[in-house]
Subunit: 463 residues, 2 copies
C-alpha cells in the first residue's frame, strides 16, 4: 500500500522515520500534525536525527515543549510550535501559509494569522520575504521563556539576505520581552516589533521600531526595506556626520527630532542660530530662522545662502550625508531643484573625491507651477536621492552612517535553501507541499499498538 500511496500522491511515502530519511536524505524539517498526545515523541525522533521541527499539533504539555526546545537549541535546531500554524522557510509554505513573493524581509512570530496578515500586507505593497518563522503561541510565555524566539533571531541574524526583520506576537511575559528585545537590538539591521495590544509610548529603541497594528508593522518594514535598497546604491558614510540644511522650519524640526530619537541625542530646543540639532557630529539647521532672513528674502525664494552652505561642505569631509528639503508651490523659487543641483555639483567637485550622499524631500504637487516631475528629474540627474518623506530621508541617512554588519558568512543551513520536508500527520500538508514544488516525503506514522494505550504501556515496559 506504500507503493500504491506513492503512485497516487506523486511523492514518496514511508512507513518509518528511518525509511523516510532514506527516501529524502536532505530533509531538514519535520512537519508534525499528529495528535498532540504523540507529537512530542515524533519530534524527539526528528531532533535526534538532526531535523528542525514544525509542530502544527496542539495539546502538547508545556513541559514537553520546553524539553524539546532546549534539546533543539543545544543541537542548533529550532522547534516551531507546538500549535504553530504558519511558517514559510526559504519560500516553502508550511501548513497554513501564503505563497509569498521573495524579498529582503524576515518575519518571526508567535502568531499564525499575525504572520499571514503581515506577509500579505508586505506583498500588497510590492515587497517580499526571505522567511517567516512561526514560534507557537506559548513560546513567549514565562514558562517557555522565548527559547525558539531567540533561536529564530540567531538564525535570521546570520542570514545576510534578511535585511529587515518583523517580530510579531501578543505581549510576551515581561522578562521574556526584555530578553527578546535585547536580542533584537543586537541584530545589526532594522527591526519592526509588534506586541499586539501593547501601548508602546516609545516609537523606537535604536534599531528596533515599535509598530501598533499589523498593517502598520508591514508598512514600516517595507519602508525600511526600500531605504536599505536605496542605501545599497550609495557610498558608505560609516561614522561620518549628517548635515541637514532646511528652508522649512517644520521639516527641519521633524528631521532633527527623528535623528535625535534614533541616535539618543537631544534636539536643540533653543534653536539658537537656527540649529535644530547640533550634537554627535550631526547638525540640522533651519535656514528660515530670523537670523538668516533678516534683511534677506526667505531661502525658499532665494537659495543663495543655502547654496553657500552646501558648497562649504566641500571642505567638511566629516559630513558624509546632506539632507535637504526642496519646496515647490506659489511664492517659492521658480526652479528650486535646478539651483540646488548646481550647488551640490560644485560642492562635490570640491570634495576631492570624498563621497557624500545628498538626500532631498520634494514638497509639492503635480499641479504646482514648478512642474514636480521635471524638478524630480533634475535632482536625480544630479545624483540626489529623493526620499518620500522626512522620515524615510532620515532613515536612509542613518543607514548610511551606521551601516549594519548583516550576516557575514553563510546563512544557517535551515535558511540557506528551500528545505525538503518530512510530513507526519495530515496528508493534505504533503499534497500541498508537493503541489508547490517542494521535495516532501510523507511518513505514514501510526501510534504504537495502533493507539491501544494498555498495549503501549506494555511495550514501553518491555523496552
Amino acid at each position: 500500500d506504500v507503493a500504491r500511496s506513492r503512485r497516487a500522491s506523486g511523492y514518496p511515502v514511508a512507513r518509518s522515520w528511518r525509511r523516510a530519511r532514506q527516501l529524502v536524505p536532505d530533509a531538514k524539517v519535520a512537519l508534525i500534525s499528529v495528535a498532540g498526545h504523540y507529537a512530542a515523541d515524533v519530534a524527539r525522533q526528528a531532533l535526534d536525527d538532526g531535523c528542525h521541527v514544525m509542530m502544527f499539533s496542539d495539546n502538547v504539555s508545556v513541559e514537553a515543549e520546553v524539553e524539546l526546545k532546549l534539546a533543539a537549541r543545544r543541537r542548533g535546531l529550532i522547534v516551531m510550535g507546538p500549535d504553530c500554524g504558519t511558517s514559510v522557510i526559504g519560500g516553502v509554505p508550511l501548513a497554513f501559509a501564503n505563497r509569498m513573493p521573495k524579498g529582503p524581509i524576515a518575519v518571526i512570530g508567535a502568531s499564525g494569522t499575525g504572520i499571514q496578515e503581515i506577509c500579505s500586507q508586505i506583498a500588497a505593497r510590492g515587497a517580499g520575504i526571505t522567511h517567516a518563522i512561526g514560534l507557537g503561541g506559548r513560546d513567549l510565555s514565562a514558562a517557555v521563556g522565548g527559547i525558539s524566539a531567540l533561536t529564530a533571531i540567531d538564525f535570521v541574524a546570520a542570514d545576510a539576505a534578511s535585511r529587515v526583520v518583523v517580530f510579531v506576537s501578543k505581549p510576551p511575559a515581561p522578562e521574556v520581552k526584555a530578553r527578546v528585545l535585547a536580542a533584537l537590538k543586537l541584530m545589526q539591521r532594522p527591526v519592526v516589533a509588534l506586541f499586539l495590544g501593547d501601548r508602546q509610548a516609545v516609537r523606537r529603541d535604536g534599531n528596533v521600531h515599535f509598530a501598533q497594528t499589523l498593517d502598520g508593522a508591514a508598512a514600516l518594514a517595507v519602508d525600511l526595506a526600500n531605504v536599505d535598497s536605496q542605501a545599497s546604491h550609495q557610498p558608505s558614510a560609516s561614522g561620518l556626520g549628517i548635515c541637514g540644511l532646511y528652508t522649512g522650519g517644520t521639516l527641519a524640526a521633524e528631521a532633527a527630532q527623528l535623528l535625535a530619537d534614533a541616535l539618543g541625542l537631544h534636539a536643540d530646543e533653543t534653536h539658537a542660530e537656527g540649529y535644530m540639532l547640533r550634537s554627535g557630529g550631526h547638525r540640522v539647521i533651519d535656514l528660515g530662522d530670523d537670523l538668516y532672513t533678516r534683511g534677506r528674502p526667505h531661502p525658499m525664494i532665494d537659495p543663495t545662502l543655502r547654496n553657500e552652505m552646501i558648497r562649504a561642505l566641500a571642505d567638511e569631509p566629516t559630513y558624509g550625508v546632506l539632507l535637504l528639503d526642496v519646496v515647490l508651490g506659489y511664492g517659492a523659487n521658480a526652479d528650486p531643484a535646478g539651483v540646488t543641483a548646481r550647488a551640490v555639483a560644485e560642492m562635490r567637485a570640491g570634495r576631492g573625491g570624498a563621497p557624500i550622499t545628498v538626500i532631498a524631500t520634494l514638497t509639492g504637487t503635480d499641479q504646482d507651477p514648478q512642474d514636480r516631475a521635471s524638478q524630480a528629474a533634475k535632482l536625480e540627474e544630479a545624483g540626489i536621492v529623493i526620499a518620500e518623506s522626512t522620515r524615510t530621508a532620515v532613515e536612509l541617512a542613518l543607514r548610511l552612517v551606521q551601516p549594519p554588519v548583516a550576516g557575514i558568512g553563510a546563512p544557517p543551513p535551515l535558511l540557506a535553501a528551500p528545505p525538503a520536508i518530512v510530513n507526519i500527520g495530515l496528508r493534505g500538508f504533503a499534497d500541498e507541499l508537493q503541489a508547490g514544488g517542494t521535495n516532501v516525503v510523507h511518513y505514514l506514522w501510526e501510534p504504537i499498538a495502533g493507539g491501544n494505550q494498555r498495549l503501549q504501556r506494555l511495550v514501553a515496559a518491555l523496552q
Copy 2:
C-alpha cells in the same frame, strides 16, 4: 501710474483700501505682507471692513496679535498669522502654498511647511483638501492662547465638505493644547492631530487620532477619508452593534483591541468562549479558540460553524455591522470567499430588510492557490465591503455605528467658495493669485508720510 500698473498686471490696482473694496467688493481676505511695523494697522482696517486677514508679515508684537485675533473672533472673522506663510482657502493658494487637488480633508496648522508637506503627502496618495488654514507660529503659545485655532476649528466644523481634519503644530502650551483638543473632540468627524515632537503614548482619544510624523498624519487622514467615502455607500447602522466573527486569533485580537480603544471599552483578556470583546453592545469572537476546534476542523478549513453564526445574525437586528476575516493560502478552505458570501446572502435574506453592512479583510497574496482576485470579486458581488486592513475595517464599522453629524447648514462664508483677495505688500503674491485664476486686487499701500516716523508722529498727534 495706477492705470499703468493695472494694465501691466492684468488685475485691478488701488491706492486706498476703500478703492480696493470698490474694485473687488466681494473680497473676503486681506493678504498682508507689508513690513511688520505697519501690518497691524492694515489688518485692523481690513477687519473693521469685514475682511478676514492672512498676515504673512512677521515682527508683529504679541499684544497686537492678541488684540487683532480677539477683534476678529468677535466679528466671526479669522486672523491667519502673523508670520503665516501658508493657507489654501477654497482652493486658492495664499502666499507660499501648493496648488492642491480638491478633496474631503481640511488641514489646520500653526506651521507653514508642515501644512505644505502634509498637503503634498495627501496629494501623493491620490487624495485632496477642502482648505488649509494657517494660524501663524505663535497662535498656540500661552500668550495668544489658540484664538485662531479655535476659530478655524469652528469654521471647519460647520463645513460639511470637510469630512476629515488634520491639525498640525509644534507642541502647544499645555493649557492651549487642552483647549484645542477639547474643541477637536467636538468636531463630529475624524481628526488627525500632530503635535510634532510630542511623544503621545495614547494613539487615539475618541474621534482624535494622534500621529507622530508629517507623512504619518497624511497617510492616516487619507485612510480615514477613504473609510468615510466607503461609508457613504453603506446604510447607516447608527447606535447598532458591531459583531466580529474571526477565524484568525490575531486578527480577532487586533479588531477587539482597536474597537476597545476607540469606544473606551475593555477587550476581554480571559478570551472565555473565544470572546475577545463582549461589551457596549459589540462582540468579537475568535472561532479558532479551542472551544470551537475541539473535535472539529479549524474554521479556516471548515466554515460550517462560522456560517451558522453568520446566519444567526438574521435574528439579531441589534447588530448593524459584521466584521469577518477571509484567509487564503495553503491549508485553508479552497473557496473561503464563496462559502462566506453564501452564508451572508442567507443571513440578509432572513433579516426582514433590517440592513447590515458586512466588512471583510482578505488575507493572502496573488500567488495563493485560491486566486485572490477572484475571491475579492466574489465578496464584492455579495455586497461585502473589502477593507485593506483590520484597522480600516474597524474604522469603517465605527463610522457606521457612530455616524458624524458633519456641518449641517451652509458652510461659513470664508469657506463657501474660492475667496476674492485684497493683496497688500509683496506684489508677487498678487501676480501668482491672478495667474492661478483668483479674483485679486492689489492695494498699493504705503506707510503714512512715506515712512518718515517723525512726520508720522506729527500726523498721529493731529489725528
